[in-house]
Amino acid sequence: MSSRPGGKNPNPSVRKRHEVTDLFGETPHRRSTTNGRHGHGHGRLPYSSQKQSKRRHFSSTEGQSADSDRKATRRLASENMKSVHHRRIASLARHFRMEEGGSIAFSPTSATASSFAHVKQAPEDAILGVTVAYNKDPSPVKVNLGVGAYRTEEGKPLVLNVVRKAEEQLLADRARNKEYLGITGIPQFNKLSAELILGRDSPAIAQGRVITAQCLSGTGSLRVGGEFLATHYSGPKVIYVPSPTWGNHLKIFPLAGLETRTYRYYNPKTRGLDYEGMIEDLRAAPNGAVVLLHACAHNPTGVDLTQEEWEGLRKVIRNDKQQLPFFDSAYQGFASGSLDTDAFAVRRFVNDGGETFIAQSYAKNMGLYGERVGALSIVVRDPSVAARVESQLKLVIRPMYSSPPTYGAAIVSTILSNPALYDEWKVELKAMADRIISMRHQLFDALKARKTPGDWTHILNQIGMFTFTGLNKQQVEYMTKEYHIYMTMDGRISMAGLSSRTVPQLADAIHSAVVKFSS
């Protein structure tokens, strides 16, 4: 089944998609078979490359067994039929209403059963829901340590100076227009993004082995990459993600069509990396599986591999298992303050000549959150493969959103292509990273001063925006209720949301929670 954290699928071969026959004896459409006639339309699609159908691992009852999955699908189909009957009756009944005294009158707009009546309320997204709850809180001392968005020392969102300069430049440029970008976005943006993550002197780039497509930030890059793999990857259509990982990974990949499993990563006892567990799980995983790796500043734990550990992992993935690494790079420059240092792992893997997927985001390191700027880079072994891969990548993107939004990518391009702006960016980026590091020290010192029970050195050791405090759900709920501290239930706090002013309040809250509910 799709994600069962920590568990191993008893059947390592790729799971078959459920056969669903609809009420009219037709099987619902599947994507992409070379001989398939899709719908009853114009005949076969001329451009499907493989006979494999894409696997859809969506189940409306996620996390349950295959059996209950089939039951759920039948139930949905049966509900659909009821819904059809409802609609027919509702359609007729709509024209009447009951009058007082029991007679029936003609009323074309009386409220009747909706065709959507069976749609249930979705729970609020776990991470974004924290901000929703925070916004509802009337307390003047509330602190939002939920979503990973940088805040200044004054607790305000930040638009980088260099971004404003770029925007002014763009606005003043009379040659600019808003014509559709190509499906893979702005070519200069793509080139500069590849160089940013791989290094300007990257052999892979020089050899024409890198395809880059502008996508919607990290999420969009991961989704497009996942869908591409589900259709075109010749290895097993399964991806391994670390446990824990960013919650949205567990939604993106199943919907993209990849079976999603986990490998051990975080050791709660040490609040550090479970290196042996990770290696063991990846060795036990199928050869050729896809492996998701956080390039740096692991989210949510902040626990990263050392250079030696990266090298050990690389050998297993490349030499022993021929697995495909898929890097999620959302914090380049934010972890250490240096763009090159933070790209170490990605470059080490790519420079060994093996194939690699990379999702980049500019949300945090350029503060372009809402503009949705990112890139998917695919590094292949062979330049002749690159052009074919790019052409098929376009077929994934076109039916999703046609082409990406221009504004944010134009800002990035402007900055990266201008040496003065590039340098200014690096300075602003380092300042953000440094402020976060100083928050780590302040929080650590504050807990030490309060003699809060426990070892809190992980606050100093963990890297990037987040700290995995080790606090449990009960403690978190207490902190929210009593101290108006908003954070995710897994104990993750965004250091970017802290300031010198709010550190004492957070330290008090942690101290109080730990003392009251010793874990």
Binding site: H38, S49, L76, S115, V163, K178, S217, G235, R381, R388
Partner: protein
């Protein structure tokens, strides 16, 4: 599975052909002839055949930069001010459905992204339900439903003999569809044909859809562009809503606000109760989050600023009338040139009757190839030309090209 070292895991990937629509622009760019004309993608051009950024858009962007707003993540459903504005534009500011909270609106990535969210919603909540798309329709519709895993079939639409609407065929095919099907309808300015149902025909279509328990799924990409009037172009959608029918509607601001590359649109569900609207919206969000998390802010703010400012809104309406007006003028000139040059007496009046950016010329594949190969006129292979890419100055040349292709190529 052990793989030989050194072999790409993507070795078996074959080269995909270029996108039939976007590929036309690529071919146009590669052509070095001075006579070349791009009538491929539906992007508005001025008489000088230059792209146009609307004045109101420039003003809005300037205002936005001066106000120094931040770039925080939008909520998953997008910018609230945009969602409010877009629903009101579509349904009318005084719409009872909006007042009663019966409209679920989620900002989407222009028309494509909004259709994709709607399609994903159908796949999840109406499993097995089929979508009927017109024959022909915008080339990307089938790709969207394919990738969303929604089965589709076609309803007759274009009648080549009359170069008009095959209304009987359309109604018969909608009638034959299994009850509970989704019928994809172009709100106005049908793409690629430019042929729209009359108001009477819309009434009958609504009757039939209601009778069969189907649901209308409107694609509204040209509101304001068809007639020049935002309200008139929304008549078809508003008719269904007035009847109390539940519908899905995908909107795009690519053409009518010239925001092509900003990717701004919305998916709307008009439903029977506010409770249902809240739930439907929550599930649309749940589909958007693993696709791109939250939508881009820039285009949404432009729309919200233009619609939210009375002066800018009026100016927008004027600019839109200007764009729609230029297209009507060009249609007239092309028709005049065709009628004058073609001595055979063929009826070219469909050029005048068709509505919106596109004209379905009736040219076949070979004839369309002749247009590009011999005349350097780029169009899609289904015979569609974009009048938005035509200038008065080029009408005579185009008429020559069409006549040559129509008569001299089989």
């Amino acid at each position: 599975m052990t793989l030989a070292a050194g072999v790409s895991k993507f070795e078996a990937v074959t080269m995909a052909p270029p996108d039939p629509i976007l590929g036309v622009s690529e071919a146009f760019r590669a052509d070095t002839s001075d006579a070349k004309l791009n009538l491929g993608v539906g992007a508005y051009r001025t008489e000088e055949l230059q792209p146009l950024v609307l004045n109101v858009v420039k003003k809005a962007e300037k205002k936005m930069l001066e106000s120094g707003e931040n770039k925080e993540y939008l909520p998953i459903e997008g910018l609230a001010a945009f969602n409010k504005a877009t629903a009101e534009l579509l349904l009318g500011a005084d719409s009872p459905a909006i007042k009663e909270g019966r409209v679920a609106t989620v900002q989407g990535l222009s028309g494509t992204g909004s259709l994709r969210l709607g399609a994903a919603f159908i796949q999840r909540y109406f499993p097995g339900a089929k979508v009927l798309i017109s024959s022909p329709t915008w080339g990307n519709h089938k790709n969207i439903f394919n990738d969303a895993g929604v089965p589709w079939s076609e309803y007759r639409y274009f009648e080549p003999k009359t170069v008009g609407l095959d209304f009987e065929g359309m109604m018969a095919d909608i009638k034959d569809a299994p009850s509970g099907s989704f019928i994809l309808l172009h709100g106005c300015a049908h793409n690629p044909t430019g042929i729209d149902p009359t108001p009477e025909q819309w009434e009958k279509i609504a009757d039939l859809i209601e009778e069969k328990g189907h649901m209308a799924f409107f694609d509204v990409a040209y509101q304001g562009f068809a007639s020049g009037s935002l309200d008139q172009d929304a008549d078809s959608v508003r008719l269904f809503v007035k009847r109390g029918l539940e519908i899905l509607v995908a909107q795009s601001y690519s053409k009518n606000l010239g925001l092509y590359a900003e990717r701004i649109g919305a998916i709307n569900a008009v439903v029977h109760s506010s409770d249902v609207a809240v739930r439907v919206k929550s599930q649309l969000k749940r589909l958007a989050r693993p696709m791109y998390s939250n939508p881009p802010v820039h285009g949404a703010k432009i729309v919200a600023n233009v619609v939210g400012d009375a002066a800018l809104f009026d100016e927008w309406r004027a600019e839109m009338e200007m764009m729609a007006g230029r297209i009507k003028t060009v249609r007239q000139r092309l028709y005049d040139d065709l009628s004058t040059k073609d001595k055979s007496g063929k009826d070219w009046s469909f050029v005048l009757k068709q509505i919106g950016m596109f004209s379905f010329t009736g040219l076949n594949r070979a004839q369309s190839d002749n247009m590009s190969d011999k005349w350097h006129v780029y169009m899609t292979k289904d015979g569609r030309i974009s009048l938005a890419g035509l200038s008065l100055a080029k009408c005579s040349y185009l008429a020559d090209a069409i006549i040559d292709s129509y008569y001299n190529v089989q």
